[in-house]
């Protein structure tokens, strides 16, 4: 390529203001992984179907593989690295994923946890069916989803200071 095109992109990533010169052809996944070494952002399908690359942008979860890096200018972005404490301590939600064995190979995990974080930040109690729908943009080929749902559900009740009710009888699916 002789005449490559670049743009200066300034955004807040995990609470810090960052600036980089990015190729206009780059996806946000490319920028976060290559310019900022945030490798929790996984390259999965790269066509917006699997959710492994999901990040939080201004409070909403987006697939960063189908989001242009140049669009990130002025945005507030959170990746999985942004949820941990200063010494790498796990958040309550991350710990729940560990405790419930909601992780096997771990490839889908960052996306699931960030999506769950945006859901839980609404501060509402959702039914299992509602949670399934809200989490439906992420594919997991290991766990069969039940443990993931359990981890999210458990954290949802804990954050509201409520006892965790027995599991609903799921309908056949």
């Amino acid at each position: 390529m002789s005449n490559r095109q670049f743009k200066m992109v300034t955004c807040t990533i995990n609470g810090k203001e960052r600036t980089a010169m990015v190729d206009v052809r780059a996806s946000l996944t490319d920028m976060l992984r290559n310019d900022y070494s945030l490798t929790s952002v996984k390259k999965g399908c790269e066509v917006g179907e699997c959710g492994a690359c999901a990040v939080i942008i201004d409070g909403e979860c987006f697939n960063s593989c189908i989001y242009m890096a140049i669009w990130a200018d002025g945005k507030n972005i959170t990746t999985l690295e942004g949820l941990t404490g200063p010494k790498g301590e796990l958040s309550d939600l991350q710990q729940a994923f560990v405790d419930e064995t909601a992780i096997q190979c771990g490839f889908c995990t960052p996306g699931f946890i960030l999506e769950a974080e945006t859901i839980l930040q609404k501060g509402k109690i959702y039914t299992d069916d509602e949670l399934r729908k809200l989490l439906s943009g992420h594919l997991c080929r290991c766990t069969g989803y039940d443990n993931i749902l359990r981890a999210v559900r458990k954290t949802m009740y804990r954050r509201q200071g409520l006892p965790i009710p027995p599991e609903e009888d799921g309908e056949e699916r």
């Binding site: 052809r25 987006f62 189908i66 242009m68 999506e115």
Partner: protein, 294 residues
């Protein structure tokens, strides 16, 4: 990294129009959930892009003084579903776009892109047809507004002329006042799915809830473009509500639709769906309007 020849970022609607004139071959990039995937597939690889994603002036929903509901073309599906004006006046549109893809797709996908790509399966389209929506396009000669049915020229082809971009979708007060609707998407799975067939029905009942004042039936994937069941609507306008009315409407729509066999589903299945979905969506719309099909 995407295979893009050049990227032009519009800074305003006027700038977008100028860029469209300067680069007539360039593809308009809104949310990108269709265009970027087509670049990956190779279909749109190596092309110039005009990104309008940054035009916040095209986001949001508002009411004009005469009651026209205006939806900025870049409003995402998730924001449409959450919008109080949509919920109050045309709630079924919020429900319909809440069935697109998955949550992250609904965060990036725009209603403008969903209509401009001209596909018959778009979850917003059949409902917008049912609401008699109008499309606003802004170009070098100013603003042009046309009924959504005229906007669709053929499969994958819409009436966006050189220099134009779609700037809003408008629903006049007379189209929504007194109407209630229901949308049913039939798909093979519950998320990340394209409609096998979809049907959106609006009804307006008489004050005593005994007569069908008006009826509008929109279909997706019942023809090469989204359509209205015009003959059926004509036949049953002013009909009295009765126990077998829904069945009659289901039968009648078969005269309006022309689905085809595709790898997703057969023509026969789609015909069956058109009949069943029209019937079921009609029943629900009547129920929402406070009527009874006894």
């Amino acid at each position: 990294m995407y295979d893009i020849k050049a990227m032009y970022e519009a800074s305003s609607v006027a700038d977008a129009v100028k860029l469209r004139q300067q680069h007539p071959e360039a593809v308009i990039l809104a949310g990108g959930s269709d265009v970027l995937i087509k670049i990956r597939e190779g279909k749109l690889a190596g092309r110039e892009m005009i990104s309008i994603y940054g035009l916040d002036e095209l986001r949001g929903v508002h009411l004009e003084e005469d009651g026209t509901l205006v939806i900025g073309s870049l409003t995402s599906f998730s924001h449409i579903t959450a919008d109080p004006l949509i919920q109050e006046h045309i709630g079924v549109l919020g429900e319909a776009v809440d069935m697109v893809g998955g949550p992250q797709i609904r965060a990036i996908g725009t209603i403008g892109g969903n209509t401009c790509n001209g596909v018959t399966s778009a979850d917003s389209a059949s409902t917008l047809f049912a609401w008699d929506a109008q499309i606003e396009l802004t170009g070098p000669d100013g603003v042009r507004i046309l009924p959504i049915a005229q906007f669709y020229l053929g499969a994958g082809k819409t009436d966006i002329r050189p220099g134009e971009i779609q700037t809003s979708i408008r629903i006049p007060k007379k189209s929504y006042e007194g109407y209630k609707g229901f949308y049913i998407k039939y798909g093979m799975r519950r998320a990340m799915e394209i409609a096998t067939t979809g049907c959106s029905v609006n009804v307006k009942l008489s004050d005593d809830k005994k007569t069908l004042e008006d009826l509008r039936i929109g279909f997706g994937v019942a023809a090469p473009v989204p359509i209205r069941a015009v003959k059926t609507e004509e036949k049953f306008r002013k009909a009295a509500l009765s126990a077998d009315l829904a069945d009659q409407i289901g039968e009648a729509v078969l005269e309006d639709v022309t689905p085809r066999d595709s790898w997703r589903a057969s023509k026969d299945l789609r015909l069956h769906l058109c009949q069943t979905l029209a019937k079921d969506a009609f029943c629900e719309a009547v129920k929402r309007s406070g009527g009874e099909l006894a």
